[in-house]
Amino acid sequence: METLFFLIVAAIAVICSLMVVTNKNPINSALSLIMTFFCLATLYVMLEAPFMAAIQVIVYAGAIMVLIVFVIMLLNIKSEAGRRTSHALFMGISVGLLLLVQTWYLLVKSSLSSVRGTVDSAMISKVGHTELIGKSLFTDFLLPFEITSILLLVAIVGAVVLSKKKL
């Protein structure tokens, strides 16, 4: 049952992502991408990561994609004028498929880490996923968390520098 549900969601995700790549109109691509993100959020829930699912929707689908759609509107980009040459398409697709075959092969062939952590379903349901993530962020990964603040500041400054009206 669960596997069936997974397969359905996965199929939708793959189809939507294919539409991202194939759609001529950028807006349609963006909307398909948002669909893919929703599918992924669903999968996160299945993986007992509800917090990640939430921010996937809020940050990715909500913020980033809105920004992208906004820019597409702002620049008033129509459908792509022309296609790439069939040669380039062929090369791109075959390299991509090759990459897929390779990753598939090595994922099937390789072994996972044998060390199991302390976090299991029981703990997540008892303590709560958000709290676990929060604790981890503010203890073990405090420094990376702080670095993101600098990263966002740089992004803001950069965006302003590149697009403010008057120099």
Partner: protein
């Protein structure tokens, strides 16, 4: 509700980064109140900040402090690289102001952005967790995307920024995938724990997930250091970016890429040494050869130096392939001397250039050596050092890198390296031939030295000649800073 126990925070570990970030933020605020013609003062303030950071780093030499639950470390290796970053940032800032004035994009934000990029590089050098390294790399990259496209009225600069961004984001995908696979294979993102897990559980090259993780991470770093075949963005971005930023990009981020690359491979994955050293072997040969051979054809001097910087990444990869103490010390020494010689050369290019990046062809240097003898000699010193001709520092560095490779048994790699550096002389020499053996077509009267340029060139000349003639001290420091 139980409280969370925040672990003891050891600010001393990240003090240099904190200081530099605070200076950068303060500059952002000050910038609002500074008139457009006086933005140059922000440069001096940022240099003061860099000097302060340097002063904080020096006492830390010799100790190795971990902090923040093992996500960061301040050891000699990191400190040596941080000094390189700070020097390259300071020298680039010295030559920025005049250039921005000339090109008419005098925006004060460039200085905080350079400082933030430096913070990112410092985090890459001292990060001991894949997350820290990744975030440091992103802080650096995001700043660089902006810096490359900083001259937003110049179409070339736009294009450079956008190309860098698209390809950089693409390579980030591979880097992340590599990190994910490494995480899956070892169950952790901490570098020390990865190593101990591999050592304890006897995971080896038979675990394809780990090997693939190593390969994908390597491609990500190879993109950052511009190793072939992940180098193709370099010439375009270096040509289009504002020249001081090209100088900065060709040194700092490359060094940072090598720092993180070295820490990941040497500390986290020594068990895979046979695999990664053969990979690096191929990358080194490709990178040197492609860089040098393509440089032979270039007419634009910025583009020529871009290809030459690819070749130099190749030489450094030679030392990296060796993976021994001598090779690693060679990387450190070479990066340091490369900072001086390359930024020095770019400083001259800025001086000779005209508005709109005009006058940057090799043939535009005809007779320059006679119109400006002192600058001509300085340029020659930098070019000789890049070509690896004694007694400049570049020679000692190359010798060291190659002898590291020989000690590790990679004699053919060293041979190819020597062959390449012999070929590289040709295109450096071509510039000198134009400077001295061609009839001047220009009077070069617009070439005016400012005190900042004099300082930058002086530092560069000293930085090339002193380690070249008396490399003992620098090599000793480099040896104390290796990761083994």
């Amino acid at each position: 509700m139980d409280t969370i126990a925040i672990p003891a925070i050891n600010l001393a570990v990240i003090a240099p980064e904190v200081v530099l970030s605070v200076v950068a933020m303060a500059l952002l605020l000050i910038n609002v109140f500074v008139k457009s013609e006086q933005k140059g003062y922000l440069g001096y303030l940022s240099i003061a900040g860099i000097l302060g950071t340097l002063l904080m780093l020096i006492p830390a030499w010799g100790s190795s402090v971990e902090g923040f639950s093992g996500t960061i470390i301040q050891d000699n290796f990191a400190i040596f690289f941080k000094v390189i970053f700070l020097i390259s940032a300071a020298m680039s800032i010295l030559i920025t102001d005049k250039y921005l004035e000339r090109e008419g994009c005098n925006q004060g934000e460039i200085y905080p952005l350079i400082l933030f990029a430096t913070v990112g590089m410092m985090l890459m050098a001292s990060g001991t967790d894949l997350m820290t390294i990744f975030l440091g790399l992103e802080v650096l990259s995001v700043s660089l995307y902006v810096l490359a496209g900083f001259n937003r009225n110049n179409i070339k600069s736009n294009e450079a920024g956008l190309k860098y961004f698209l390809l950089g984001a693409f390579s980030t995908g591979f880097l992340l995938y590599g990190m994910a696979l490494t995480y899956g294979a070892t169950g952790t993102t901490k570098i020390a724990k990865i190593a101990s897990y591999i050592a304890m559980n006897g995971v080896s090259s038979s675990n394809l997930m780990l090997v693939a993780g190593m390969i994908l991470m390597s491609t990500g770093f190879a993109f950052k250091v511009a190793a072939a075949p992940f180098h193709m963005w370099t010439p375009d971005v270096y040509e289009g970016a504002p020249t001081p930023m090209t100088a900065f990009m060709s040194v700092g981020p490359k060094a940072a890429g090598f720092a993180a690359f070295a820490r990941v491979l040497l500390v986290a994955l020594p068990a895979l040494k046979p695999e990664w050293s053969s990979l690096l072997w191929v990358l080194a040969v490709l990178t040197m050869t492609v860089g040098n051979i393509t440089a032979l054809y270039q007419q634009n001097i910025k583009r020529m130096l871009a290809y030459s910087s690819i070749a130099h990444a190749g030489y450094i990869l030679v030392g990296f392939t060796a993976g021994n103490a001598v090779g690693t010390a060679g990387i450190l020494f070479y990066m340091l001397s490369y900072a001086f010689m390359n930024i020095g050369a770019f400083a001259i290019i800025i001086l000779v250039g005209k508005k709109g990046e005009e006058n940057s062809n090799v043939s535009d240097y005809a007779g320059f050596g006679y119109r400006h003898p002192v600058l001509g000699i300085a340029f020659c010193i930098f070019l000789f050092s890049l070509a690896g001709i004694p007694p400049a520092a570049g020679f000692i560095g190359k010798f060291y890198l190659f002898s590291g490779a020989i000690q590790a048994g990679y004699i053919w790699l060293a041979v190819i390296g020597v062959l390449n550096s012999a070929a590289s002389v040709y295109y450096y020499l071509r510039v000198m031939v134009f400077m001295y053996f061609k009839e001047p077509t220009e009077d070069f009267e617009w070439v005016k030295l400012t005190p900042a340029f004099v300082l930058c060139l002086l530092i560069a000349v000293i930085g090339v000649l002193v380690p070249g003639v008396l490399p003992g001290l620098f090599l000793e420091l480099a040896q104390k800073a290796v990761l083994m």
